[in-house]
C-alpha cells in the first residue's frame, strides 16, 4: 500500500462517537489484549535497524526507516510499564500517524479487527493502576472479556514521564482535552 493512500485514510477518520459501532484493531502485549481505533492503523511491519535517540524520551526506542519515512518507535510494553525490550530490531510494529508525527508502536502480536458497540462501554474499574489507566480511552465489554481501547494521545505523549511538564503545554492540553 502506498504511503499516500495510507495518509488519506488517516485524515478521513470519523469523529469519535459518530457511529454507534466502531471497529477496533487488536494488539497483544504479553497476555493482555488492547484495542486501537482501526482508522489510526496505517500499516504493520517488522522493524529493521533502529537508531537510538540519545537524550530523548526513555520510552522512545529510536528512529526507524519505514519505506523511506522516518518514524519514531515506541514500545507498548514499555509504555505500560512492563519489562523493557532488549532491542526493537525484528519486532512487530504498527505504523500510526498521530498529530502530524509518524510512530511505530511495537507490540508482541497483532490480533483481529473486531466490532465494538459504543453501548457496551463500561466505567473504568477504579482500582486500575493510574499510570496504566491513563493510556486507556474506554473499556468495552465483549463476549470474550473486557477490551481496553488505547488512547493515542496518551500513548504518544511522553511529557509526563520524560520531560518537565511545564515546557510541554502542547501535549498536555491535548491530554486535558481528552480527560
Amino acid at each position: 500500500m502506498s504511503a499516500l493512500a495510507l495518509r488519506q485514510t488517516g485524515h478521513a477518520k470519523p469523529l469519535p462517537g459518530a457511529s454507534a459501532e466502531q471497529r477496533c484493531f487488536t494488539v497483544i502485549d504479553g497476555d493482555e489484549m488492547f484495542g486501537l481505533p482501526v482508522q489510526s492503523v496505517q500499516t504493520i511491519f517488522r522493524i529493521g535497524g533502529v537508531t537510538p535517540v540519545p537524550l530523548g524520551p526513555a520510552d522512545v526506542e529510536g528512529l526507524v526507516n519505514l519505506r523511506g519515512r522516518i518514524v519514531t518507535a515506541v514500545s507498548l510494553k514499555r509504555r505500560l510499564g512492563n519489562a523493557p525490550l532488549r532491542s526493537a530490531r525484528g519486532e512487530l510494529a504498527i505504523g500510526i500517524e498521530h498529530d502530524g508525527e509518524n510512530f511505530a508502536l511495537i507490540v508482541d502480536e497483532v490480533g483481529d479487527v473486531i466490532p465494538c458497540d459504543e453501548s457496551a462501554t463500561i466505567t473504568r474499574p477504579p482500582h486500575i493502576d493510574p499510570t496504566r489507566a491513563r493510556l486507556i480511552r474506554a473499556y468495552y465489554r465483549l463476549d470474550s472479556g473486557i477490551l481496553p481501547i488505547l488512547d493515542m494521545d496518551a500513548v504518544f505523549d511522553f511529557a509526563d514521564r520524560n520531560r518537565p511538564s511545564v515546557s510541554q503545554s502542547h501535549n498536555n492540553t491535548a491530554m486535558r482535552r481528552n480527560q
Partner: protein, 856 residues
Amino acid sequence: MRLRVRVGMDELLKDFLTETAEQIEAVGTQLVLLERDPSDAAMIASIFRLVHTIKGTCGFLGLNRLGQLAHAAETLIGRIRDGATPTPDAVTVILAAIDRIKAVLAELERTAQEPEGDDSDLVQALELQSAAVAASTRQAQQQAPEPLPQSVKSERQTSAQPGEEASPQIRRPETIRVAVGALERIMLLVSELVLTRNQLLELTRRETEETIKAPLQRLSGLTSDLQDAVMRARMQPVGRLFGSLPRLVRELAAEVGKKIHLVTEGAETELDRQLIELIRDPLTHMIRNCAAHGIESSAERLASGKPEAGTIRISASHEAGQITINVVDDGRGLDIPRIRQKAIALGLADEAEVARMSNEDICRFIFAPGFSTAGAVTSLSGRGVGMDVVRENIEAIGGSISLSSTLGQGTCFSIKIPLTLAIAPALIVQAGDHRFALPQMSVVEAVGLGPGAAHTLERVQGAKVLRLRQDVLPVADLSEMFGLADAENESEARLVVVMRVGLLSFGILVSSVADVQEIVVKPLGPSLAHLKIFSGHTILGDGSVVLILDPAGVAGSLGLQRTTDYNVMAPADLTASSHESTRLILFRAGSGPLKALPLSLVSRIESVASEQLTESDGTLIMLHKDRLVPVLPASPDMMRKTGVHPILVISLGDESMGLLVDEIVDIVDEALAIQIAGSAEEIVGTAEVRGNPVDVLDIMHFVRRARPNAQLRVAARRFKVLLVDDKLFFRDMLAPVLTSGGYDVMTCASAIEALAFLQRGVAFDAIVTDTDMPEMDGYRFAEAVHEQPRCGDLPIIALAAHPSAPVLAAARASGVSAVAGKFDRRALLNALRACLNTEDLANTDLEQRVLTEKAA
C-alpha cells in the same frame, strides 16, 4: 503553507483570498512609487483595479466590513486616477486602509468568517482625503486648462501594460498558480526519490554487470536533474522581499526625519521561498539600522558636501551556489574609536588587544551581544537587541554576515546565504557504534588524535580540550555526552571535528568520519523536537536513519553561550599578563601574614573532617571520589587540629593534590607585584594586597613534594632567558631588548661559562646564543646544553648575522629551535615568544579559562 482553508469553505472565497493576498502586497509598493512619480498612470490604474476588484468581490461574498473599507479607498484612489495629486497624507491613509484590509483578510483566512470591527475611523479619514485631493484637482484643472480627455488616459493605461519596466511586479502570462502544499509534496517525494536512488547506488556499488549499471547511472542522473528542477520551482525572486521595502524606508524616513532614497538591484535573483521569509527580519533590521544610525540628517549631509537625501542600496546576486545580499548606505560610516571604547568597556577586549586589531576586526564587534553605540534608545534601534540578533538569524540558516565601513562615506553589510536548506552536504561521523550527521557548513577541519598525531586531547579538571595551534578548544565527547557504550580505549586513533558556529569554535570527539553525503534534512517530530542538540534526521544511502547534530546545540551543551564567550582575539600573549590583575585566594595558614595563591590554580575547595585525613608515609592522604589525594599543610608551622579543615584542591592534569589551610579569608582581584622575594622555599615572595602584606605561595614547591611527576607553572612568573654572546657590544644591545620584551635576562660571555651556569642548576626558560663564538660555537653549545640534565628540551634561539640556508640547516641539525638575525630585534622576540608560547600555552590558557569561568 499560506492557505489553511477549511474543507467545505466556499471555493470562491478561497480563490478570492489567494488572489488578493498576493496583490495587496504589490499595492503598498506601488503606492510608494506613485508618491514619488505621480504621473505614472499605469500604476494608478492597476492599484485602482485591485481595490475595485476587492470591493466588487466583497459585495458578492457578503463581506460588508471589507466592502465598506474598499469602497472608501476606491473613491480616494479613483480621485487620484482622475488627476488629483497623491499627497503624502493621502498615501498614508491608503496604506493604513490596506493594512486594515490585510488584517481582515488574514482573519478571514483563519476562521472563514469576517471578523467584527469598526472601521469608521479609516473610512472617515479616506473620505476626508478624497475631499482634500478633489479640491487640489480643481485647482490643478484650473492651472492646466486642457486636461487630457478620459479616453486618451485609458489608452495610455492599456499601452503601458505587461512587462512595463516601471512596475516591479512583472506579470508573466506563462506562469500558473500552484498551491504551496502541492509543491512541498513534490519536494518531499523527490527527497524520497533521492534517498531511494542513494540506496540503490549503495547496493550496486560492487556490481560489475553493465546491463544494470548503465540504466542505474541514467536513473541517478535524472533524479539529480529532477531534484534540481523542483528546487528551482520552489525558488522565488527575491523581489518578493524587496517589494515591501520602499514602504518600510518611507516610514523610517518619516520617523527619523531624514530624507532617504532606496535603490534595489537584482530583484530577479531567485531564492528558496523558505529562505526569503527567514531573511526578511534580519534585512529589515539592517535597514532600520542604516536609517537610524547610518544616514545623517539632511543638514549634516549638506554640510559635508553630500546630496541631501541619503541612499540605501540593496542588491542581491547569485554567485557560486550562494546568494549575496548587500545593504549599503552612503552615511557617516561606523565610528571606529567609539566601537573600540565600547568594546573595552564591555570587556570584550582590553586596550592592548584593541590596539593591535584592524579596523575591520573592530567593526565586527557590533555583532557582539548587547553591543550598541547608540546613545539614546529610540523606537527604531539602540534597544540592545541589534546586530547580534541579525548575525544569529543569518547564521542559523547557514549564512554569514560581514561588513566594511569608511568613515564619512558609508557602510556596507554583506550577507551570504545558501540557496536552499532542504539538502545539505554532511559529514557522517561514528561515535561508539552510533552514527550522526554533522552539517558540513559548520565543519572547519578534522584533527587526528592518538599516538604519533600532532595533536593530543588534554583534560582540564575532567573536561576535554584540544590544543590546536594558538587556540584551546573545548571538546564535546559524543560517547560521553550521550552515554553511549564506548568499548574502545583512549589510545585508539580518534578524531576531533573542529566546528565553528558564528564566532565560537569547538571540537566534537568522534571515533571516525564514516562518509560525506548529501543529506535531505528532515525535521524531528514533535515528540523529539525539544532535543536542542539535534536539528533533524535523515536516511542515509544504506537505508539507516541518522540524527543530525545541531552545531549550535552542541556548543550550548558545552556551556558556550553567545553572551559570555564572545571572543575574536587570539589568546593574550604572556608579556601582557604581568600587568593584568590576578584573582587571588587569601587564606590563613600557620603564623605570619596571610597567604595567597592565584585562584586559577585552585580547582575547588573541599571541607574535610580531620578523621578523613590519614597519614601515610609522612604525608597526609585524603580519599576523594575513590582516588587518593595527597594533602600538604600550606605552612610548615601549622598545628594539626581536629574538626573540619578547608582544603584547596589543585589539579595537575589528571592528578590532584590538596593544600591544607586554616581558614579561607577572601578572594580578591589584584595586580600581583611581588615586592620582597621570599626567603622560605615555599614562598615566592611578599606582595601588598589591599594594604596588607601577603605571602604568595610557590605552588611548584608543593607540587614537587606531593606529585613529583606533575608539571606545572605559575602564571605570574616571568621567563628567564640566558643570553650568550662573546661580544660585549651585542650583549649590551640585546639584553635591554629582551628586558623590554618582558623577560628576565642573564648574560654570559661564552658557551663554557653558560654551561657552567646550567651545571650549577640555574634554571632558564630559554637560551639565546650567538652562533659564531671562539672556543665553542653556538651549534656545539646547543648540543651540549641539550645533553645536560633537565635541559633536554630547553628552547635555544641562535643569532646569526644573516639567517641563510646553510645556517638554518646547521641550526636544525644541532637542535636549535629558531634562528634570528642579529640585528632583527622583532624576529628575536617573536622567535622567543613562539618557543615559550608553545611550551606554556596549555597552562596559561587553561588558567585563563578557569579564571573566566570563575568570573562568569
